[in-house]
Symmetry: C2
Subunit: 217 residues, 2 copies
């Protein structure tokens, strides 16, 4: 089920929004740089209408800033922005951890732990990119296990805004090692279904993320 024989239900502006979102997250469109409408619609092969609608969506998501009559730019995060996002994210994920311990099924917990094991395998072989992607997924999946849709949505939103930054975070080997240790703690607490402990682990993990990241801003 799911995809089956669905053709192309998504409207153009949805597709454009996804595409441009990716361009921003992966850094092809640099933070602070102007978004050249004429150039991008050429590239994407669409007209201005769906493109501009997509921009409005991304603006509401906080990835883009529209300056009336002066064009749009990719939002550039100040250190204060990043700090405030990590502060909030830490508390959201604390909540997610607590709720997940109460609400997730055993199968869901097992799945998440399996993902963790694969992450650890990547760490041992120092494959940064796969590790990075699995890490994003780990946090997103934990938010899902809270069975709280609003929490999942907010977590996803902040995580998207921070994606660029966090990739930089684990550049230094000992930072990476630290993050891995944090994750071991989380999984242990999750296995035991110790909500408060997992919550603490999440919050502390994100506090440390700030330490790991702040110098590269």
């Amino acid at each position: 089920m799911g995809s089956s024989l669905a053709i192309t239900n998504r409207s153009l502006h949805d597709q454009v929004a996804s595409r441009v979102r990716d361009l921003i997250i992966e850094g092809t469109l640099e933070p602070g740089s102007r978004i050249d409408e004429a150039h991008l619609i050429e590239e994407l092969g669409v007209s201005r209408t769906p493109f501009r609608e997509a921009l409005r969506t991304l603006a509401a998501e906080g990835l883009v800033i529209v300056r009336p009559s002066k064009g749009s730019i990719v939002r550039k995060l100040t250190p204060e922005d990043v700090f405030s996002m990590l502060e909030v994210l830490g508390h959201l994920e604390r909540l997610a951890g607590e709720l997940a311990c109460e609400r997730a099924t055993d199968a869901e917990v097992a799945d998440l732990i399996a993902l963790h094991e694969r992450m650890m395998a990547c760490y041992r072989t120092r494959e940064r990119m796969p590790y990075y992607k699995m890490n994003q997924e780990f946090h997103a999946r934990l938010a899902e296990l809270s069975k709280n849709e609003t929490l999942r949505e907010m977590q996803a939103n902040i995580q998207a805004r921070l994606k660029r930054i966090r990739y930089i975070g684990n550049q230094k080997p000992d930072s990476w090692a630290g993050a891995v240790a944090d994750h071991e703690d989380m999984v242990r607490a999750l296995k035991d279904r110790d909500g408060p402990l997992l919550g603490e682990a999440m919050a502390s993990h994100l506090k440390k993320t700030w330490e790991r990241v702040k110098d590269s801003l």
Copy 2:
């Protein structure tokens, strides 16, 4: 400062977004109902382009749902939606309370307490509408005092989604009395700059809000 002599910098889609947002919040556009594009652009005196851009913004904010090729509807909150929002909001405001105690200036605290006093005056004379508005402002201002812009933004977003619902909340007299008691607790903790206590008060206030509201869904 602020307004000074600025003429009209806001673009049409911004104005339309604000206008329609208000129509949704105040209930003129009913939850679950179709948004009649042709009719509304006539009413607002704008063309479809800025109107549709505004719709995309509201969709990203979670107030509107766009169903591809089938038009847009005002999002109708299920009880689960409301519960999940209040759960998250409770924890966000707990954080806001803790941070505000640490970071707000004495003057800011005094201002907020003054607002509280005015709210109480409205309660004594049973002026529901002014009370309701000041209450919204109270929570928004507390979020500001956290000096965390992300927190302020997320709080505002969830509060906007819930506005309709919460107006219903204090219909019953004893519910209203309960909310007032909660607020007295908050202000006491704020006066003492007791962060953990204020945090607890906020979280508990929003848990009770669910109790107050759930039957009218």
